[in-house]
Amino acid sequence: MKVKVLSRNPDQYLRETKRDIPKIPRNYDPVQHPFEAAREYVRAVNTAKLDRLFAKPFIGSLDGHREGVQTLLCHPQSLSTLISGSYDGEIRLWSLTERKCLKAVQAHRGMVRSLCFNVTGSHLFSVGDDQNINQWNIDNFDEPVSTIPSKSSLFAIDHHYNEAKFATGGEAVEIWDEDRSHPIRSFSWGADSIQALKFNRVETNILASCAADRSIVLHDIRQAEPLRKVVLKMRSNALCWNPMEAFLFTVANEDYNCYSFDMRKLGTPVMVYMDHVSAVLDLDYSPTGREFVTASYDKTIRIFPADKGRSREIYHTKRMQRVTTVKYSRDDKYVVSGSDEMNIRLWKAHASQKLGYLEPRESAASRYNEKLKDKYGHHPQVKRILRHRHLPKHVYNAKKQNDESRFSQKRKEGNRRAHSKPGAVPFVPERKKVTLQEQE
């Protein structure tokens, strides 16, 4: 007869001293872990609740401007450096880590319209309502290095990604060499004034601009003529290229929506982003290209996933007025917004993310929680909690009104269709309704 009785040596299961980590023997046999799915689900619900509980996106505000903030610019190399330009022509240099203004200079007479850095980030270009293009040394901010007077008023400026060229937008799109006082090239295609323009960061000679005549025009700066143009129903206020998918760009439109276009086929937008209840004034992509942030006249900031038509996040405060400009930080962690009431606000890009150093266990837990949210995000209970956002009253009411009017139009169209000859009132997808015409 052979016999063995289970007899555990406590030394194998107890820690030797109190400074040791407790011993945790594991047995992954499913029988020892009943209710696997149900427990995971409960964990997912808890995670969703904690996610909303810890959602404190507002970090702080930078005050100092004496007029509304018109434009913001992040430094291409230094994460903590931010430049802002305001309605009264002042440019300020901020340190985001200290949340302090390092320098303030009266740059233009009238509004500072737009800012851009040169390739290395050592010099700053600004355009203002005084029709000047000023070049500033970032280390010595007191006097402009050079001032180039322009013949017409300028609204936008952007620098080439790797060459010493920049483009301005006013009555026409003009390409400048940093060393010359006259534009090397000028494009115009019927537009009276260019509102925004941006160089592509990958195909570096491609430039897109939005004009006040509701058109979006693509240029190749090596060519004499613009490439192609699309006219939308309403005007686009701002434009941003997707940094990862270089053929995509997104515009912020006056009709409350944003539209993503494929530059190869401008006829229909590839994506329509709805949620704002007033004109969208500015937008900026995150460096990952997965998301972008928008600023709107409805006093809110929203963050949209690039592949979804609805926003995942809305930021607002009681005091924040019309948000004129917004930027995503280069490390994908923060969002900076400038608004009418002279403040610059710093937000977290992920409202409930813990900032600073994370213990390995903490980061493992947060990754696990992310996965749980992903896995159980479709359960009604989890979904409801994760989606819930408090809206300001005016946004809530405006949203209701907009929905109502959209529904009513739809109903009307349905009625018309029901009482017409079959095919006489066709179904037109939302994406097709936006563009009026594409020109080559």
């Binding site: 007869m1 052979k2 016999v3 063995k4 009785v5 289970l6 499913p30 009943p34 696997e36």
Partner: protein
């Protein structure tokens, strides 16, 4: 005592360091159980050697069945075998793409035998072919790979298990384990185990019931006549002892050893570990039997008057209380895998209850006499029931059919499954332990023991090779080798937990308390997609096919035009219009439904001019419905 098992890992080379592509002699891996100690040889298919494909970075580890195959054949086999079980793409633990880890993994991961993987099976893989987009197909395949990988990883952690399970085995055919007495056993085992075999003489307040905590560390004894004692039974340290001055029908540890519930003469009382009464629950009257659902924090009770109740002890609220309408409820056990309560009734039926349905989920006749005892094994697959007919039946709970039956010579009063699926049957003076329960061969009498008389309760101690039995004159702790699970998971239950760990565990388990709404026959239902049942689809069809137009309520706001006559007329017009619309809509829906039904039936239809000769059975083929 045979010590070969305990030191079986000593001196074995770790095969993961072996870098030879082919090993000429049969390698014995660190992972495998030694053949000599178990008594059966290691099958050759278990033996895995490492072989790296020269041209492929995703080289796998090969199992080859016999050494007679040539190298070419082996290579062929290798390629064939690799197809179904690919290397996973993502390292779950580090959550990084596998490419980065692949080389490291290749160098130290030994193969895992299929037998070992079986336990961790997560069911059949979903078929990606049904998906419409390539993107989602890819997602699904990646997910499946992760599942496979985690399965392998889980199986591999068994290397780390420090203990080996107990056993009692015969060496020749003349020996019989059932004849081994506790005295014999106590002589042969080590001192620590000897101390686990003890008797408590408690003559005054019996017969005694008892219960072990979930981690097997603490024991609660309660005499029918009011005596209660709790102790750390391994160190024999008494925690508290008191007398409730009332009869006690049943007792139950709650989530931890800090709280216990006693079903006294009238109400259920809750005490702490010092014996201080914390609550008297007057909603639970004359309770005869109790069980606790630790993951739901529910105390389930069955009463003298036939009421089945679930009390949430974390918030103190009654979740449900049903009258089972089956007389007194003295036989009740929880199914540990799905938290459904199993009740045995005096008319021989067994019924399964969840707190969400006021009727039994399942009810079946198990004996022609009253059910005396029942228990469900840890996996939730098998249930043992017994009645006054002195017959023990083992039920497969997946089919609700008996798989085994055995007769005993007295009518049993108590039954218990151990963690390793041994079945203890307690009769008046005798305790019998059976093995091989639920397997294809008949259950074997493994061990037995006699007590004086008046046996009331038998229960295996979790994570120990110990069976407790409470009877009229006290309590006996018996050694049953191989009855306890050797490896506990300290995240779930920990016999060696410190006070701090206990407190942590309490908080965590409260945070993860499963809502009682999720209790049902299938515990994994929450993770599944709802597919409407046949009944639901039929009801839906009936709703669309035969529409009762609901009454339309409409009252015009003003009587303006045409006075009251015009008012009535307008009312009538609007009503008629709405009715017409609804009927129109219903007809359209019906038409659509019929079309889809016809499409489904088309496959079954035989074309009129088919080559097949006409058959008399053609009349049963469905004809196309004309919409």
């Amino acid at each position: 005592m045979d010590t070969r098992r305990t030191d079986m890992r000593d001196g074995r080379p770790f095969q993961g360091k072996d870098r030879r592509p082919f090993v000429s002699k049969k390698p014995v891996r660190y992972f495998d159980a030694p053949s000599d100690a178990v008594g059966h040889t290691v099958k050759e298919s278990h033996v895995y050697t490492r072989k790296k494909k020269a041209f492929d970075s995703t080289a796998d580890f090969v199992a080859f069945d016999d050494d007679t195959t040539t190298t070419v054949q082996r290579k062929q086999k290798h390629i064939d075998r690799r197809k179904p079980q690919d290397e996973p793409e993502v390292d779950l633990i580090n959550d990084v793409p596998a490419e980065r880890n692949r080389d490291r993994r290749l160098n130290d991961v030994p193969g895992v035998p299929k037998e070992k993987l079986k336990k961790f099976n997560r069911g059949k893989a979903l078929d990606a072919n049904g998906l419409r987009t390539h993107f989602h197909k890819k997602l699904l395949r990646q997910r499946e790979k992760k599942i496979q990988f985690s399965k392998r990883q889980a199986a591999r952690t068994e290397i780390l298990h420090a203990e080996a399970s107990g056993f009692l085995e015969v060496e020749d055919a003349l020996e019989d384990t059932a004849r081994v007495t506790q005295k014999d056993l106590a002589k042969t085992v080590d001192i620590q185990s000897q101390a686990k075999n003890f008797d408590l003489q408690l003559n005054d307040f019996g017969p005694y019931g008892f219960q072990y905590t979930r981690n097997g560390r603490y024991l609660m004894l309660f005499g029918k006549q009011g005596h209660v004692a709790t102790m750390d039974w391994i160190t024999k340290k008494l925690m508290c002892e008191f007398h409730v001055q009332e009869s006690i029908a049943c007792g139950q540890w709650l989530h931890q050893e800090t709280m216990m519930a006693l079903g006294q003469k009238q109400w259920v009382n809750i005490y702490d570990s010092k014996g201080v009464e914390l609550h008297c629950i007057k909603k639970l009257f004359q309770v005869l039997t109790m069980d606790f659902l630790p993951y739901h924090f529910l105390l389930a009770t069955g009463s003298e008057r036939g009421y089945l109740s679930w009390l949430d002890i974390s918030v103190g609220q009654m979740v449900s209380q049903f009258n089972t309408k089956n007389g007194r409820l003295a036989v009740m056990k929880k199914n540990p895998s799905n938290a459904v309560m199993h009740l045995g009734h005096s008319n021989g039926t067994v019924s399964l209850w969840s707190p969400n349905v006021p009727e039994p989920l399942v009810k079946f006749l198990s004996h022609h006499t009253a059910v005396r005892a029942l228990d469900i094994d840890a996996s939730g697959r098998y249930m043992a029931t017994t009645g006054n007919d002195r017959r023990v039946k083992i039920w497969d709970l997946r089919k609700y059919q008996t798989v085994q039956e055995l007769d005993v010579f007295q009518s049993p009063v108590s039954m218990d499954f151990s963690q390793t699926a041994l079945l203890a049957i307690g009769m008046d003076k005798n305790v019998q332990v059976y093995k091989d329960v639920g397997l294809t061969q008949a259950p074997q009498l493994y061990m037995q023991h006699y007590v004086k008389n008046g046996l009331r309760h038998v229960e295996f101690c979790p994570y120990e090779d110990v069976l407790g039995c409470g009877f009229s004159e006290g309590f006996s702790s018996l050694l049953i080798p191989g009855s306890g699970e050797a490896h506990f998971d300290a995240i779930e239950t920990n016999p060696f937990q410190s006070k701090r760990q206990r407190q942590e565990m309490e908080v965590h388990s409260l945070l993860e308390k499963i809502p009682s709404e999720l209790i049902g026959l299938d515990p994994s239902q929450i993770g599944q997609i709802h597919q409407p049942s046949l009944q639901e689809t039929l009801e839906q069809k009936a709703r669309t096919l035969f529409v009762n137009v609901p009454k339309v309520e409409f009252t015009p706001k003003y009587k303006a035009l045409g006075g009251s006559a015009g008012w009535t007329k307008r009312k009538e017009t609007v009503r008629e219009e709405k009715k017409r619309q609804q009927i129109k809509q219903a007809i359209a829906e019906r038409k659509k439904l019929i079309e889809t039904m016809a499409d489904e039936d088309e496959e079954a239809e035989v074309p009129a001019n088919s080559d097949r000769p006409k058959s008399v059975f053609d009349r049963f083929i469905k004809k196309k419905i004309n919409a």
